[in-house]
Amino acid sequence: MNTDVIAETEYVRGTSLWRDAWRRLLKNKLAVFGLIVVILITLASLLGPAVIKRTMGFTPDFIPTHDTRLIGSFPPFTGPDGEFSWTHPMGTDNAGRDQLARVLQGGQISLFVGIISTLVSLLIGVSYGAIAGYVGGRLDNVMMRIVDVLYSLPYVIVVIVLLSMFRSQTPRGQLVLLFIALGSVSWLTMARIVRGQVLSLKNQEFVMAARATGVSARRIIFRHLVPNTLGPVIVYATLTIPQIMLTEAFLSFLGFGVQAPLASWGSLAADGIQNIAIFPWQLIFPGVTMALTLFSLNFLGDGLRDALDPQMRTT
């Protein structure tokens, strides 16, 4: 008797899509590994340089000019006289700067470039695709042909031309330019994905119902349709971050990206490759850190896709 009453008053709380997806994500070991590594590397990059400064007393761009013995590249865990030392766990570079601090600072910039450019691509790509898809007809045609034209340009060359044309005097200016250049070419696929989603969503009855209640087109696009495309958008954004980071590394490697004294994993690797035969740790540490991060982000992206789109899962 009593249980009946309880069953009647307490309705079953349904699980939301997001909670379901989260549970599926946690079941995927590679994705969990990716998530943990990404969080650790992000935290280390954000806090690491400050911690090193407090405990060890040097910044990433500190060159030990007070002691000429310290200038020069030392292997990991090695002091100036070849003895074991905790001071530089990743060794030092040619000028005697601490590698660990530089890799962590490089991580800051690499992640920053990846995330900001992805946000730019989200902002432009989602609105562009959603508007094209919802309005349809001639506008859609014109907008998507523009995307097609931009797609057909070799975008690395576009970025290189952009960067060298507006070459900035300060390293920070160069960094901003890099954001603009990467962001402006990376929204194309996002626009296509969102447009495709909106095309299939806009004929659903809830859009008609919203229109029948007098909701404006702008509100329908951004309040009703865009949230419905969130799943694929999140997945694609997660996969865009490593892609952009790789492009940034590539550009920095070629000398178009991040300029000294700022460092990114790409520019550290570029410095390291010159001495690969004698000082291999100069390439290995930034290279491995970057590879690990990219792996993790890709695992996480794949995991998210499987979690958010159960129909696509293969058993």
Partner: protein, 337 residues
């Protein structure tokens, strides 16, 4: 208030055509009717007869392209809706004319809380603040009989059953106290017990608020219990128009007679159910005569040659048929001319 004749809505010679690769489809072809304040109008017809398009045309929601309202007037409160700007018609949608759709499973946004979707209405049209809108949303959910409305308002649509969702749709449609409610097959997607509840709810709320209702359906039983007037549509045309009681007792059109015969009779012992032979015509390629001619049991040579006249049988009974008067007399009507 200029509408001295008490007409809330007056549709005159409405024509909505769709351009398809197969030619022009005349989905709605010269429809006229009136709806008085507080009355309920039923529109019945088979699938593809133009019922839904008629109503989408009234609030100008026909997908364009391919659809186009070619001609006609839709006078709502003395104002031709077809001449209004897009902004002006948006202020009427939801505020003064609201719609309930057929499939409650898909007509709520799956990513928005029920309360948000209800609040959107009143924030938009009545200028409610968030708090006012939320309170109003809960009140509306209580009105349509959702138990524990305050707690359930913040659930998502997938946590509701079909009947519950249709109640939410009704709450949404009525939350701005519209003058006209268009219900497009509101019970088709629901099972029979829920159907009865939903219809009863619409009836009660209509009585309480004095809203006029247009009820689109293909269920004659629903029409009989709910409406004051009925329009029977076929191939984009009005075939018969009458007061509900009269249409059922003395139909003046062979198509209506066929429809009425098709309603299963629970008292009948056994036997096959009657069905009108043939299929609804392809409205893209209509022949010059009566569109119902190939399926009609009263068909004559003239039916294939000439389009039938719209015959007035009495004060408010019209029928589109060459033999309207005969059919009407056969069913026992027409003692007065």
């Amino acid at each position: 208030m200029s509408e001295t004749d008490g007409n809330l809505l007056e549709v005159k010679d409405l024509r909505t055509y769709f351009e398809t690769e197969d030619g022009i489809v005349k989905a709605v072809d010269g429809i006229s009717f009136q709806l008085k304040r507080g009355e309920t109008l039923g529109i019945v017809g088979e699938s593809g007869s133009g019922k839904s398009v008629t109503n989408l045309s009234i609030i100008r929601l026909v997908p364009d392209p391919p659809g186009k309202i070619v001609s006609g007037e839709v006078i709502f409160n003395g104002q031709d809706l077809l001449l209004l700007s897009n902004t002006a018609i948006r202020k009427i949608r939801g505020r003064r004319i609201a719609m309930i759709f057929q499939d409650p499973m898909t007509s709520l946004n799956p990513y928005m809380k029920i309360s948000r979707q209800l609040m959107e209405m009143t924030q938009l049209h009545l200028g409610h603040t968030r708090a006012q809108a939320h309170a109003h949303a809960v009140k509306m959910l209580e009105t349509v009989g959702i138990p524990d409305a305050r707690a359930r308002a913040d659930s998502y649509p997938h946590e509701f059953s079909g009947g519950m969702r249709q109640r939410v749709m009704i709450a949404m449609a009525l939350s701005c106290e519209p003058e006209l409610l268009i219900a497009d097959e509101p019970t088709t997607a629901l099972d029979v017990t829920i159907q009865a509840q939903i219809l009863e709810l619409i009836k009660t709320l209509k009585r309480e608020t004095g809203t006029s209702v247009i009820l689109i359906t293909h269920d004659l039983g629903v029409v009989a219990g709910m409406t004051d007037h009925v329009i029977v549509m076929y191939a984009g045309k009005i075939f018969e128009q009458a007061k509900t009681a009269e249409l059922f007792s003395t139909p003046g059109n062979p198509y209506t007679k066929g429809l009425l015969r098709s309603v299963p009779d629970p008292t009948a012992e056994q036997g096959k159910l009657y069905q009108i032979p043939g299929l609804p015509p392809d409205v893209a390629h209509l022949k010059p005569g009566c569109p119902f001619a190939p399926r009609c049991d009263k068909v004559a040579e003239i039916c294939h040659r000439e389009f039938p006249p719209f015959v007035q049988l009495n004060a408010d009974h019209y029928s589109l048929c060459h033999f309207a008067r005969e059919v009407y007399a056969e069913s026992g009507g027409g003692r007065v001319s």
